[in-house]
């Protein structure tokens, strides 16, 4: 299983990796991108099984990335991991095709719970 972690904060990417390792998905192959553009290039090169993506990022934000993926017919499973999590954002994320929106900070069991729901 391949998981692409997209976040402009290196520390946050590290935390997501660390948290993933504490879940049942710890053996997944993890790759990273620091914005939507980098993520797009990475996905075109090798399709991951899941994208865990921040919302606010420079160059191309998470929502722009998700919309670009869907426009190109790339239906990779996609979830937001973001500092914000208003009802409005959750609705927008869902409408754009995200499987979930997990607000930071989160515990490993929170992450595992949402992944268990979508990675079946």
């Amino acid at each position: 299983m391949k998981i692409l972690i997209v976040d402009d904060s290196r520390a946050m990417r590290m935390i997501v990796r660390r948290t993933l390792r504490q879940t049942g998905y710890g053996k997944a192959e993890m790759t990273e991108a620091s914005n939507g553009l980098e993520a797009m290039a990475s996905i075109r090169g090798a399709m991951p099984d899941l994208v865990l993506c921040d919302w606010n990022m420079p160059e191309m934000n998470g929502m722009q990335l998700l919309r670009t993926l869907r426009e190109e017919g790339l239906n990779v499973p996609f979830g937001f991991v973001t500092a914000e999590g208003t009802a409005e954002m959750r609705t927008a994320a869902k409408q754009a095709g995200a499987l979930f929106l997990l607000s930071k900070p989160f515990r490993s069991k929170d992450l595992e719970f949402v992944l268990d729901q979508v990675m079946v």
Partner: protein, 160 residues
């Protein structure tokens, strides 16, 4: 998850930071006072969609250094040195920005959406930030000790 401002107490802040850092955090309420002295503070400014200030988180240097360090496992001794030198820099500063970004939750209260827009450093607030911070009556303060790191303080000031 929307938060009600009335629920923002030491227990909430403590749980929030414990979850973020994966370490035990002791938190207690203190008194919010606008900084006026020689000590350096970080001023994290949160704005709404229209660019209006929703609030300001004022963090002392020990908090900025500790949280900027613990996020990527920078040793406590390095954080202590940064405090002594009077500045957080490099990856410690970058990490603190992320902590401040996540702390937007403290200002996304009562259905409002607040986003971190800038972090500046200084001994006192200036300009429109001062207008919010100097209205100390609307603020709340927390002393925070993350396991293994020195105790620091944050103050949360709301525009309304």
């Amino acid at each position: 998850m929307d938060v009600a401002k009335d629920n923002l107490d030491a227990a909430f802040v403590g749980n929030f930071l414990t979850t973020l850092f994966g370490r035990n955090t002791k938190t207690r309420s203190g008194r919010a006072r606008p900084p006026r002295g020689r000590e350096q503070y970080a001023f994290a400014v949160y704005r709404d969609k229209e660019g209006g200030i929703v609030g300001v988180m004022v963090a002392d240097l020990p908090f900025a250094a500790a949280t900027g360090s613990v996020l990527s496992l920078i040793p406590a001794a390095v954080a202590k040195e940064a405090v002594k030198a009077g500045a957080v820099t490099g990856s410690m500063e970058e990490n603190f920005q992320e902590v401040a970004n996540i702390c937007a939750r403290f200002f996304s209260v009562d259905g409002k959406r607040a986003v971190l827009r800038e972090v500046s450093y200084g001994t006192s607030a200036e300009g429109e930030i001062a207008d919010v911070v100097n209205r100390g009556a609307t603020g709340m303060a927390f002393e925070i000790e993350i396991q293994g790191y020195d105790r620091g303080k944050i103050m949360l000031f709301y525009a309304d």
